[in-house]
């Protein structure tokens, strides 16, 4: 279970992107953070992943503090992340990308092979394309590869930064179907997205982030009502 407490992230000493953010990501459930553009969602994910250093606050995973460690150390602590941007290794094959995902397991050949097979079972589209260069895959498949690769380290929690970004609606459905499968496998998922509909469908818990502050959160069913008003406000703002 991930606990974020009073997290504050600054940009260039003056601007606070995240202000005293606190939230809880329960085990084996999907927790989503929604919010308008510029709310700080990506920053939140990056801070939990270790790519950004917070000014203050703490991040705890299963009772162990993980803030303060570097991104690569955090993988050992059980964090897996799928970045918003394209992040496959373009010149390497799908297979090599996946093997690199299993970097943690590099000393244990048998285990690595087993995990690779398990992951490929979950992502049959990738199984068919093992020897292709990752850069030649379509956007949706690259996203799949990124997710599969992150799964290779057998993370306790998977962070996803706007998994639908830059994808066609069909591909977005495809990705969320994949997230569903992961959800069924009892993986703890922390997800931020601008695509509210898909995101909310997949989520068990929802938090709302606006201008760096948590404006509310809880079980999806409980807060659905007040959410729809909020969303109407955002949509209105974005349309104007």
């Amino acid at each position: 279970m991930l606990k974020v407490e009073n997290l504050t992230v600054e940009y260039r000493r003056d601007i606070e992107i995240l202000k005293n953010v606190s939230l809880i990501v329960p085990e084996n459930k999907v927790t989503a953070v929604i919010g308008p553009n510029g709310a700080g969602k990506s920053t939140l994910v990056k801070a939990i992943a270790g790519l950004i250093k917070p000014k203050k606050g703490s991040i705890t995973l299963d009772g162990v503090r993980i803030d303060g460690t570097s991104a690569d150390e955090r993988v050992k602590q059980g964090v897996g992340v799928v970045l918003q941007r394209r992040s496959v290794f373009p010149q390497m094959t799908v297979k090599d990308n996946l093997i690199l995902g299993g970097w943690r397991l590099r000393g244990e050949k048998k285990v690595l092979e087993e995990v690779l097979n398990q992951v490929l079972e979950m992502f049959p589209d990738l199984k068919q394309r093992l020897d292709l260069k990752a850069g030649s895959l379509s956007g949706g498949l690259q996203r799949m590869l990124e997710i599969a690769r992150a799964m290779m380290s057998r993370p306790k929690i998977l962070l996803m930064d706007e998994p639908s970004a830059g994808l066609s609606p069909l591909m977005v459905k495809h990705v969320y179907r994949q997230i569903d499968i992961l959800k069924k496998n009892q993986l703890t998922i922390f997800l931020v997205d601008q695509n509210i509909r898909q995101c909310m469908e997949a989520a068990d818990y929802v938090y709302v982030l606006e201008l760096g502050e948590v404006k509310g959160g809880g079980r999806k069913e409980e807060i659905s009502g007040s959410l729809s008003d909020l969303i109407k406000v955002w949509l209105y703002l974005e349309q104007s």
Binding site: L51, D72, K76, G80, L83, F89, D96, M152
Partner: protein, 295 residues
């Protein structure tokens, strides 16, 4: 039956071929550092020449077989590189081109150091087999060049295998393609970068050692080899070891024939002209998407 002139041309070609392998080895160190860290190590030439001096000095002082000394030089060069990187280049701000200025400072320090330690007089290593050649029909293959070629190709092949077939090697490639993504997979990017720098200078160490058998050297030879490495990178890109080998061959052949027809003093000018030609004929830039700073 080939005429005298034709034999000369083929002889030149063979000599250039053998040298090309060494040139590729010279270039690969620069490619590694640039590929993984986007730093152009201006002092690369100095590491090579320093290694030549180390080989020279060790074999003179301890009366060791030069080939053995080359093997000793490699870890020494690696260590020097590692220390240099950790102390000087790593911590430097990324503003403008601070790492390059840093490496420029290293260039000065190394060059001056060599001048102080060994003066500007040319040095060379003479071995029992320096003058020997393998005879192949009407052609002579100088033994030292042959050794340099074989060792270089072996080293390059090993590097290729390392990068593509081992976990650590793949991690190095990953860091060069996307260091942030690599860190999210648990790869210790900073350590890999240090390792790469040490690997690069180790390869420079091998190149310098081989070079010391081939020609006489002075402390100011560094920039010349930097230029050679750079031209080869321009020709071959940085991602591809077999391409580097070809690039090394092209440069070596160009230099050999160029200096044959134009005079040996203009050898380096040949390299520079090649560089300008490449720039003019490939306006899309040398290494494509790696040329520009990301927005």
């Amino acid at each position: 039956m080939l005429s005298g002139a034709e034999i000369t041309y083929v002889q030149l070609f063979l000599g250039a071929l053998l040298l090309g392998g060494l040139y590729a080895l010279v270039a690969v160190g620069l490619a590694l550092i640039f590929g993984v860290m986007r730093i152009l190590n201006i002092a690369h030439g100095e590491f090579i020449i320093l290694s030549a001096y180390i080989t020279y000095w060790l074999s003179q002082t301890y009366r060791l077989d030069p080939l053995l000394t080359i093997i000793l030089t490699i870890p020494i060069a690696s260590l020097v590189g590692f220390v240099t990187y950790s102390a000087v280049i790593r911590g430097v701000t990324k503003s403008f081109d601070a790492p390059i200025v840093s490496s420029f400072g290293i260039l000065l320090i190394l060059q001056a150091g060599m001048l102080i330690a060994w003066s500007g007089d040319p040095r060379s290593i003479v071995t029992p087999f320096t003058a020997d050649s393998l005879v192949l029909g009407p052609y002579l293959l100088p033994l030292v060049r042959l050794i340099a070629f074989v060792v270089s190709v072996l080293a390059l092949t090993s590097l290729h295998v390392f990068l593509n077939n081992t976990h650590l090697g793949r991690a190095v490639k990953a860091v060069s393609q996307d260091s942030e993504a690599a860190s999210t997979l648990g790869i210790p990017v900073s350590r890999i970068q240090s390792l790469t720098f040490a690997l690069s200078t180790g390869l420079a160490g091998l190149a310098g050692g081989l070079l010391s058998l081939l020609l006489s050297f002075t402390p100011t030879l560094g920039p010349e080899y930097l230029l050679k490495a750079f031209v080869i990178l321009a020709l071959s890109g940085i991602g591809n070891i077999p391409a580097l080998l070809i690039g090394g061959l092209v440069l070596s052949i160009g230099e050999t024939y160029g200096s044959f027809f134009l005079g040996s003093g203009l050898r380096n000018v040949v390299a520079y002209i090649m560089l300008v030609l490449i720039l003019l004929l490939r306006p899309a830039g040398l290494f494509g998407n790696l040329k520009e700073r990301e927005v």
